[in-house]
């Protein structure tokens, strides 16, 4: 009984994760090697055909491009804003704490709710942004209707949602910089800009890299904003990878191709995650000995 008991404690977790995380990966690999829609009685083995179809498909390369645009467009404003804010609100004074909790708030809000608000604010006819622009005597912008612009509008929403998280992580990174480093810089007569450029910036580099990769990981999994605000349109202008996956695998019922897309995404994200783990040095690796 004594021998067995640790396994009993671990069993519920292992069963759930085994059934709904590990088994699905094995199953995905199997599915990706078969042609199967919900109408066919038997899946048919087709080797790597699904991958060949995927890589040859214009819709796939479009989805990849759109996802990359979304990710690349959202990262610089997100990181720059976050670092700027983190430096300014780093001293733990009361107003700074209040500001930090305000900036962090969107992080806990549901993506659906955020999508709904910005769907309203970016509405061409009656939305908030265009109301403001018209009040300034400018023309309204087709935020979500212009096929070339829509994905950048969604990237702005992503920045709005994620910036607070990045502020919090940067603030934690800043706290890890020893006070003596700043004192030394002050002794040498460095101005506050020089202190930022030559001390803060290089010393939060590992945090920046961590946040950068995390943002790529998140960016490649964007789905909800697209589902709620643009449905992949207009003219596939916002059809990101996951949206393409769901459309193919679920609405199109092409389970094999859908699984191939999923595995492609999986491979990509695993690579990025391994890269992220490399950036976390021992000293910030929380709690490990």
């Amino acid at each position: 009984m004594k021998r067995l008991s640790p396994y009993l404690y671990v069993a519920p977790t292992l069963i759930v994760l085994g059934l709904f995380v590990y088994w699905p990966i094995v199953y995905s690999v199997w599915l990706s090697l078969h042609r199967w829609d919900f109408l066919m009685p038997q899946p048919q083995y087709v080797g790597l055909d699904n991958f060949r179809i995927m890589f040859g498909s214009d819709q796939f390369s479009n989805a990849l491009k759109i996802t990359a645009l979304f990710t690349v467009a959202s990262i610089p404003p997100m990181l720059i804003l976050a670092l700027g804010v983190a430096v300014l609100i780093a001293p733990p004074t009361r107003p700074n704490r209040v500001l930090r909790s305000v900036y962090f708030m969107p992080t806990v809000m549901s993506a659906v709710a955020i999508g709904v608000i910005f769907d309203w604010m970016m509405n061409t006819e009656i939305g908030t942004f265009n109301t403001w622009l018209r009040a300034l005597g400018l023309d309204g912008v087709d935020w979500l209707i212009d096929p070339d612009l829509a994905i950048y509008s969604l990237a702005m929403v992503e920045v709005w949602k994620q910036v607070g998280y990045n502020v919090v992580i940067y603030a934690a990174g800043l706290q890890a910089i020893p006070a003596t480093v700043y004192e030394a810089a002050r002794m040498d007569g460095a101005t506050s800009w020089q202190r930022f450029r030559d001390v803060t910036f290089p010393l939060v580099m590992s945090t920046t890299f961590f946040l950068l990769i995390l943002a790529v990981i998140n960016g490649f999994q964007v789905y909800t904003f697209v589902e709620v605000m643009t449905q992949g349109g207009p003219a596939r202008g916002t059809e990101v990878l996951l949206f393409y996956l769901v459309r193919t695998g679920f609405e199109g019922g092409n389970v094999g191709l859908g699984s191939a897309i999923a595995l492609f995404l999986f491979g990509l994200l695993i690579l990025l995650t391994l890269l992220k783990m490399l950036t976390i040095g021992r000293k910030v690796h929380y709690g490990y000995d």
Binding site: L19, S110, Q175, Q221, V246, G287
Partner: protein, 294 residues
């Protein structure tokens, strides 16, 4: 985290700010920048409230007046749209997931923190390894699994996959390892068994970490969107997120949404989270900073 705050970096940053006049141009710019950013975050939230209290027809005209406020949209959300049903579904699903996820994590974390057993390191790696696996990869196979169990469009399908998570186990195990083993041994001397030690010593001492884990499970599951969107088909099974999504845009494309109703739905959807945030924001931020460096 508290000890770190008291020691290193923040002093340095405090000193950077020391000696600057309160109303120097730099301080004014700083306040302006931070203030504008705070408005950029809060304004959309204010928008939800304002539109949800507006009159339906006045919202879509360009010279809209939001005064006088009316609670009409909330009444419609509650009585005309089955929002109470969605809310109840979300409460049941998220409540079960929060409790279940926390319980499985407490058990597993305790074993990993305290017991010596064959394969411990491997099993722990297996569990923490799930943090690397994006949930979206599992959508199709999990859908097929629940289809073969004839469980699509049930609450079970919304609950089961979320009853354990690598993050919860990892986070709790890190915390439990910090509890001195001498406490266990003292209890063992008094005749307490493994199970008793868990519930009388470890769990009460792990309370702050358990709260973080439960909070994250709650937030994550309340906001869950893709899985319930794909697995629920009947209106009766919808959670608030799915209900809200169909409120904005039902199958019929092109129709103008009933904006006050949509915003009232958004408000109802956000409320539990904003309340939780108000009370537990500090725990949440601490959990995020600890959890991110995994």
């Amino acid at each position: 985290m508290a000890t770190t705050e008291a020691t290193s970096g923040q002093h340095a940053l405090l000193k950077v700010g020391r000696g600057r006049r309160a109303w120097s141009p730099a301080a004014t710019l700083r306040a302006l920048f931070l203030g504008l950013l705070a408005i950029a975050v809060l304004y959309p939230l204010w928008n939800i409230l304002a539109i949800s209290l507006a009159d339906r027809s006045s919202v879509i005209s360009t010279d809209r007046t939001l005064w006088p406020p009316t609670s009409d949209a909330y009444a419609r959300a509650w009585f005309n749209v089955p929002f109470p049903r969605y809310f109840l579904n979300s409460l049941i699903v998220t409540g079960t997931v929060t409790i279940g996820n926390t319980l499985t994590a407490i058990l597993a974390a305790y074993a990993f923190a305290r017991a010596e057993f064959r394969g411990r390191e491997f099993l722990f790696l297996l569990i923490v390894g799930t943090l690397m696996i994006p949930a979206h990869v599992t959508l199709i196979p999990n859908y097929l699994t629940f289809a073969s169990w004839h469980m699509l469009d049930t609450r079970g399908a919304l609950i089961l996959p979320f009853l354990a998570s690598g993050f919860s186990v990892f986070f709790l195990r890190q915390f439990m390892r910090g509890i001195p083993k001498s406490l266990d041994e003292a209890a063992r001397m008094d005749g307490a068994g493994t199970w008793t030690i868990l519930w009388t010593i470890i769990v009460p001492l792990s309370w702050p970490a358990i709260a973080v884990v439960a909070l994250f499970a709650f937030i994550g599951n309340w906001n869950e969107f893709v899985w319930p969107l794909l697995t629920t088909s009947s209106e009766d099974m919808r959670t608030v997120q799915i209900g809200l999504r169909y409120l904005l845009r039902d199958e019929g494309e092109g129709a103008t949404p009933d904006w006050p109703l949509v915003m009232a739905g958004t408000m109802i959807t956000l409320l539990p989270l904003l309340v939780a945030y108000l009370f537990a924001e500090r725990h949440m931020i601490r959990g995020i900073t600890m959890g991110s460096f995994r």
